[in-house]
């Protein structure tokens, strides 16, 4: 681990003098079965260089063919981001040399993106909504992946040699670029995180990507600049009129928390540089998760010359308006809207709902309710016992072997009076142990509330007779003493009795 000494000022102080402006570029790996321009599979974790062909290796003579499914995904993403969809657009070659780029140009889109001019409404922690304007969403291919061996930093400088895995070369990417995000003021880091989170939820709902940030399915480049603060209102016209400052681009920030931290750090660092009277160097920066700082990457100017020109090996993409409308009809309910609807349907409090969302349990609870459980029971099981079990096992709650149908069935058994809560927990143990469905487990373990009032009444009589002192207390009006008798009745019934019914019988006989 390296140490860095860089001047920063405190965040609060930085915000007294400067207004932060963001620009976020998010690369999304699509979950298409095959790559962007060839038929190679693109499954995660395959043996290096096992998912390659002449096309994605850039062999002499190989030609690209556009993955129609990737174009569909791009259009659906564009529509979900409220974008215009191009009537006609082309791919372009972005020319630069790099050892992990097979053709030494990236097939991308330049001035004719598939989608443009949209927005995404982002919900902040306090429930307010911030609108992030989208400039464009375009299609491109990923490069190969370099691993630098030797040297201290894992970066190319100082490395003895590098390995390249071309499995990643040609995986379809959608790059989503925001317009400059102004007016966020002190909430800029939170807006950045909330935007990426909202985008991730949207992509997941669209089922166009695995959206696993830790696997690099979603990668965020965060551009940050500061400008002089004009007043307390970051959205005031006099503030928006202040020219933008020089930006830095922090590359490949790969978790929601890091997005927020990296933006916050850059704001503090920029402020220190500007305070000292120096100017910000336009450059890319690397984010260090461990130390929570960014370090200088390479200088970047707007004049980086990639010699873009239209890709002559591909024909233009020209989706018909009919097709676009067909795809629009496949869009899922926007995640924020869906959450509101479900919260109202289920009667959860704001806090309960946030916990459910943060735990990623929205889908499983929705399925459980759909399978017949009450919303309260569904939340109780998934957010309670099962969440704890999953946490202990270090797995996802959905990977325990318990299905929404199991929970619904168990809840039904309770509501039918066949099981009480403690019996239900025993049944759940059985389900978790793979013993079968809740009904099967209850049958096999002989767990069932005794429905025979005769047996219960006999047990009550027996317990009253055995405890004359307690019975007298109850007769004298000390109703709370009934608890001791109920406990004994339950014991007598080996737990398989309805406690409420026992109480009713005891009180009926003694009062």
């Amino acid at each position: 681990m390296s140490t860095y000494t860089q001047d920063v000022v405190s965040y609060d102080e930085a915000l007294t003098r400067y207004d932060p402006v963001l620009g976020l570029e998010v690369h999304v790996e699509l979950n298409t079965a095959t790559k962007m321009f060839c038929g190679c599979a693109q499954s995660f974790g395959a043996e290096p260089n096992s998912q390659v062909c002449p096309v994605c290796l850039g062999l002499p003579g190989a030609l690209p063919v556009v993955n129609a499914r990737a174009v569909e995904s791009a259009i659906r993403i564009g529509l979900a981001l409220n974008c215009e969809i191009a009537q006609w657009c082309r791919f372009a070659r972005k020319n630069y040399f790099y050892p992990d780029m097979p053709k030494n140009f990236q097939t991308s889109q330049y001035d004719e993106p598939i989608a443009f001019e949209g927005y995404l409404d982002v919900e902040l922690d306090d429930g307010s909504v911030f609108r992030v304007e989208i400039e464009r969403a375009h299609m491109e291919e990923d490069t190969g992946k370099s691993t630098h061996i030797g040297g201290a930093t894992g970066r190319i400088h100082g490395a003895e040699y590098s390995l390249v895995d071309f499995n990643r070369a040609g995986i379809p990417l959608i790059e989503i670029v925001t317009k400059p995000i102004t007016g966020a003021g002190e909430r800029a880091p939170e807006v950045a995180r909330a935007y990426v989170a909202a985008l991730r939820d949207l992509l997941k709902a669209l089922d166009v990507s695995e959206v696993r940030m830790e696997q690099g399915n979603v990668r965020c480049d965060a551009n940050v600049s500061l400008r002089a603060k004009a007043g307390d209102d970051a959205t005031a016209p006099e503030q928006l009129a202040v020219p933008l400052g020089t930006r830095t681009e922090t590359k490949n920030v790969n978790s929601l928390r890091s997005v927020e931290r990296a933006v916050r750090y850059e704001i503090c660092r920029h402020a220190a540089v500007l305070d000292s009277g120096e100017s910000i160097l336009q450059e890319t920066r690397h984010w260090h998760e461990d130390t929570g700082v960014t370090t200088s990457g390479r200088p970047k100017s707007d004049a980086d010359d990639y010699r873009y020109f239209p890709e002559p090996d591909l024909v233009p993409v020209a989706p018909t308006r009919e097709r676009v409308e067909e795809l629009r009809a496949t869009l899922p309910e926007p995640p924020a809207q869906r959450r509101k609807r479900l919260q109202a349907d289920w009667g959860y409090s704001d806090l309960e709902m946030r916990d459910v969302v943060n735990a990623g349990a929205l889908e499983v609870i929705e399925e459980t309710v759909a399978a017949g459980a009450t919303p309260a029971a569904a939340r109780k099981w998934w957010m309670g016992d099962l969440a704890r079990r999953a946490n202990e096992a270090g797995s996802a709650v959905t990977e325990l072997g318990v299905t929404p149908a199991h929970i619904a069935e168990l809840d039904g058994l309770i509501r039918d009076g066949r099981l009480n809560d403690s019996m239900a927990r025993q049944v759940m143990e059985g389900v978790l142990a793979g013993e079968g469905t809740p009904t099967a487990v209850a049958d096999a373990r002989g767990l069932e509330l005794v429905q025979d009032d005769g047996a219960l009444e006999a047990a009550v009589d027996k317990v009253i007779a055995a405890n004359p002192d307690v019975a007298d207390k109850i007769r004298d009006g000390k109703v709370q003493a009934a608890g001791a008798l109920i406990g004994q009745v339950m014991k007598e019934m080996r737990g398989q009795a309805d406690a409420a019914k026992a109480r009713e019988l005891i009180l009926g006989k003694l009062t």
Binding site: P54, L57, G58, L59, P60, G61, A62, L63, P64, V65, V66, R93, N95, F97, P99, P102, K103, N104, F105, S162, V164, A303, D305, R307, Y308, F309, P312, D313, L314, V315
Partner: protein, 518 residues
Amino acid sequence: MSTVTDLTSLTAAQMADGLAAGEFTSVELTQAHLDRIALLNPVLNAFLHVDSEGALATAADVDARRAAGEELPRLAGVPIAVKDIACTQGLPTTAGSRTLEGWIPPYDATIVTRLKEAGLPILGKTNMDEFAMGSSTEHSAYGPTRNPWDLDRIPGGSGGGSSAAVAAFLAPLAIGSDTGGSIRQPAAVTGSVGAKPTYGGVSRYGVIALASSLDQIGPCARTVTDAALLHEVIGGHDPMDSTSIDAPVPPVVEAAANRDLTGLRVGIVKELTGDGYQAGVQARFDESVELLRRAGAEIVEVSCPHFDYAMAAYYLILPSEASSNLARYDAMRYGLRVGPDGVDSPSAEQVMAASRDAGFGDEVKRRIILGTYALSSGYYDAYYGQAQKVRTLIARDFEAAFEQADVLISPTAPTTAFRIGDKLEDPMAMYLNDVATIPANLAGIPGLSLPSGVADEDGLPVGIQILAPATQDQRMYAVGAALEALLAEQWGGSGSVLDRAPDVTTGVTTGASAEDAK
């Protein structure tokens, strides 16, 4: 001449008929060509690699299948040469460049697959200007190919190896690629036939790219009918090439058999005759026009005013695309790799630079530099952007011209074959050789060159070019076959201009065996 050698003098159509009739076997036919290659390739340098074993194996397989009564494609058993620009699995493919020396592709180009499926024994890979950049085959890293009409002269380029092989009877058929005339100009200067199909008519998958929007693969042969037969084998839609036309191959073989010219409107492109055209080239052209007129064609003169800018536009578009297409030759995954001098542990970037410096020839470097410059920000609009506009104007010129004429004609090249070395130091003079062929590539239309005779002043062959509207390839085959027949009648003999070529075997050491060619 032995009977075996006689086999090589047949047309591809005659070879196909002879094979079908059982007059000879494909092994005999293929061996006859391999023998002739062994004898003459040391002189001509038409082939960079000869695959005797593979060719004979295919031939034997075809013979066996024919003997078993299997119905075979028309050209099954007729051998062919493939320009070294097309990837051949297991056979070296260099594109005439040092950078790909020894590279063996792991896959076949679509056209190679189609040749194999049609049962054509592949004799080997033919010489070419490096990455198809040139009009003389002098820019090959493996030495120039020589013109069988005069060994001191160029066989045209970039496909000089294929045209020389066909003209010298080393192969009845060959594959060429035409970016600005690389099939048609070599055909013209060697007295053979070559066709550039409509852009998208033949798959480019697996053919090493020069300029993607201009490159087109096509047939080289000695007769128009033979070219049409090969065109039908390699043509047609390929899902691996996005720019491939999704339509059936135009009926080119049928067209070559139907030679009626009555009422056909033939347009002479004013800008592609006269000044700058060698007297003998112009004279043979005028003669052909007269023959067509007498056969019932209506001759009209058309003007394509923007052709004056075609050369300039071409030499911006081609280098721009080439600079990007050739970026992949970086020594990282395949091809020549050299380390920079005096650097102990060079970086990948240094290895790339040193390898590209060592692997590319001057003409390639010249065009990469041109293209890189033309695409640079700040220059793009003035160069690449303007060139694309010119391209549109040229396409419109053709559209207007094809309203007045069914086909257009011009001399294929302004001169007959020049001497090796004559234009090497003057790139502009070299580029001007393609002045008549380039417009078709810019517009994507098909063009065919066939021999119109020999120039009086030097006795060297002259070509006439026939252009047709996009996707109407059959028209140029119909007119070409008709003109070919009219000329044959006039010339007598076998009807081929190659009758007048000197015997290239004269002075060649006899007794050379096939082994020597390997």
